[in-house]
């Protein structure tokens, strides 16, 4: 764990490098030596003219004294303190704490990140245990073999007057079932072994595609510039291990390029600068549908210090077909998401755009502005069924003002949502309320 550098520490270190005495530096910037001492020990916040003066005397840019690890550490500490009701940490003294005890502060920040990672792993594994058809079948096979062996062994042990032909038959059954149990257990272990890290366990072609796009930051500038082809990109993508995943990636990239041609990245940046992250205004400006704008915005690289946008797409059955999770809102791996998502509201109101402020449940709730719309997945004829596809863009609160009123509380999925009194709850949660 790297020791964080706070503003006071940086000023002190830089002054030492230049061989300046504390009293001399204090005099040059017009403060008392004792006040500078408090600043150097992170007991006073500085900014404005004093920061600029200090930076000038220390011959560095002001940002070099304030940005970087300090901001990240303080953000982590604040994040750890949010939603904490039992310990009641003294938030106004957070900078003093980080300055006086940088090692302990770093430890808290690291533990907070570690707990969040473990919670994601638990959510992933729970999701998998509930919805992974292979795992469900494997466990059924193992438990059925165990049941047969237990039942038969009990008969052999407890029945003193068992006929020889029955005894022989049950011995044979136990032998067969023990072989079956060995095979099914081995298959299960191999499956779990090959899964490896829960975070990288990919069970579907869509997950392979999402993993690949995640590794690329969801943006493919070389494809948009015509420097490569979709086929070449897919062929070189190590994450796309199955032929199904490469097929799905082919469909995805065809649509990606269609969106890119209609909304070139530079033009999109300019339009966002003018209209903000407003899918309706952008759709009108480019003359495209709103779902296309949402998809295109989701691949727009986030600027320095900006939180990234999220995107979720589902088909008419509600099955999630693409997920790009925003920061602080883990999305379920399989289909069983929260029924309260605006995505599903959109599915029940085709072609009607929906804008809704939402708040995630559980520890460290985050707020987002959600835009959603459901549109025909393809142009159906008169006698064919009309299939819809819903798209939802998730904009973090830091990047879009939320409308007045309480945001709608939503979860990732019922199994890992602690909100007990919820009209939409489909199944019990594994979490206690408030966890």
């Amino acid at each position: 764990m790297a020791k964080p550098a706070l503003t006071g520490n940086r000023i002190r270190e830089r002054r030492a490098v230049l061989g300046l005495k504390q009293a001399d530096l204090a005099r040059k910037v017009g403060v008392s030596p004792s006040y500078l001492n408090l600043i150097e020990h992170n007991k006073r916040r500085i900014g404005g003219k004093l920061l600029v003066d200090l930076a000038r005397e220390l011959e560095v840019d002001a940002s070099a004294l304030t940005e970087g690890a300090e901001a990240a550490l303080l953000a982590s500490l604040r994040d750890a303190a949010m939603g904490q009701t039992e310990a009641a940490p003294e938030l106004p003294r957070i900078e003093e704490f980080a300055g006086r005890f940088p090692g302990w502060a770093g430890l808290i920040a690291w533990q907070h990140r570690h707990i969040a990672a473990l919670e994601r792993t638990v959510a992933t594994l729970t999701d998998r245990l509930t919805h992974d058809p292979f795992l469900s079948e494997s466990l059924h096979e193992v438990l059925s073999a165990v049941t047969a062996i237990r039942s038969t062994a009990t008969i052999l042990n407890d029945t003193k007057d068992i006929e020889p032909e029955w005894r022989e038959r049950f011995h044979r059954n136990i032998h067969d079932d023990s072989l079956r149990l060995a095979e099914s257990s081995q298959a299960l272990v191999t499956y779990l072994d090959s899964s490896g890290d829960a975070e990288t366990t990919l069970a579907s072609p869509e997950e392979e595609l999402e993993s690949w796009m995640e590794s690329r930051g969801y943006h493919l500038p070389e494809l948009e510039a015509g420097e490569t082809t979709a086929e070449a990109l897919i062929a070189g993508a190590g994450e796309l291990t199955s032929s199904h995943a490469r097929t799905v990636a082919g469909y995805y990239l065809a649509r990606y390029m269609q969106d890119a041609r209609r909304m070139p990245m530079d033009a999109l940046r300019d339009a966002v600068g003018e209209h903000g992250l407003d899918p309706a205004a952008l759709a009108q400006g480019f003359g495209v549908d709103m779902a296309a704008v949402m998809r295109r915005l989701s691949v727009l690289p986030a600027g320095e210090g900006e939180e990234r946008l999220g995107l979720v797409v589902c088909d008419s059955s509600g099955t999630l077909s693409f997920r790009k999770p925003p920061e602080g809102f883990p999305l379920p791996r399989f289909g069983a998401a929260c029924p309260l998502w605006p995505l599903y509201q959109a599915l029940s109101r085709p072609m009607a755009p929906i804008r809704s402020a939402i708040r995630t449940t559980g520890r460290n709730p985050r707020r987002f502005l959600a835009f959603a719309i459901s549109q025909p997945a393809y142009q159906a004829g008169f006698d064919s069924p009309q299939v819809f596809e819903a798209t939802m863009l998730l904009v973090p609160e830091s990047r879009a003002p939320l409308p007045a009123g309480d945001p709608l509380p939503v979860g990732a999925s019922c199994r890992i949502c602690a909100r007990r009194r919820c009209a939409a709850r489909r199944e019990p949660s594994i979490l206690a309320e408030g966890s």
Binding site: S151, I155, E427
Partner: protein, 124 residues
């Protein structure tokens, strides 16, 4: 003559073990291993009690249970559901569709006998 029981389960060795212990206990045992025509078999044989596995080939035990509860002649039939999962959700579904009892694999022979005797009101 003992009580008539129908066991619908697709694991042959589980069927054999259940058949053995129930026969020794004085029950008249019939078995079936396919979900598709299970409802017809139950209606045709009309046992005193039914043991029904949840995971069956071609048709789920829950679907069979639902159909049986909707039919006049099997609405009140005592039904013991078997599952290899045992999750809260399974138990809730079994109760919602009208199962009389619910058992999770791996179960013991004594549990099977005790539950079945309770269902038909026999002395234990």
């Amino acid at each position: 003559m003992g009580k008539h029981i129908l066991v619908i389960e697709d694991e042959p060795n589980i069927i054999e073990a259940i058949r053995f212990i129930l026969s020794r206990d004085g029950w008249r045992v019939d078995t079936h291993s396919n979900g598709e025509d299970a409802v017809e078999v139950v209606k045709r044989t009309l046992p005193d009690v039914l043991v029904l596995d949840v995971m069956l080939p071609n048709k789920s035990g829950y679907d069979i249970l639902k159909e049986l509860r909707e039919a006049e002649d099997t609405r009140a039939l005592p039904i013991l559901m078997l599952t290899a999962r045992g999750q809260t959700k399974d138990r809730e579904m079994a109760e919602r569709y009208g199962a009389s009892q619910f058992m999770t694999k791996p179960f013991s022979n004594a549990e099977v006998l005790e539950n079945l005797r309770q269902l038909v009101g026999a002395d234990t």
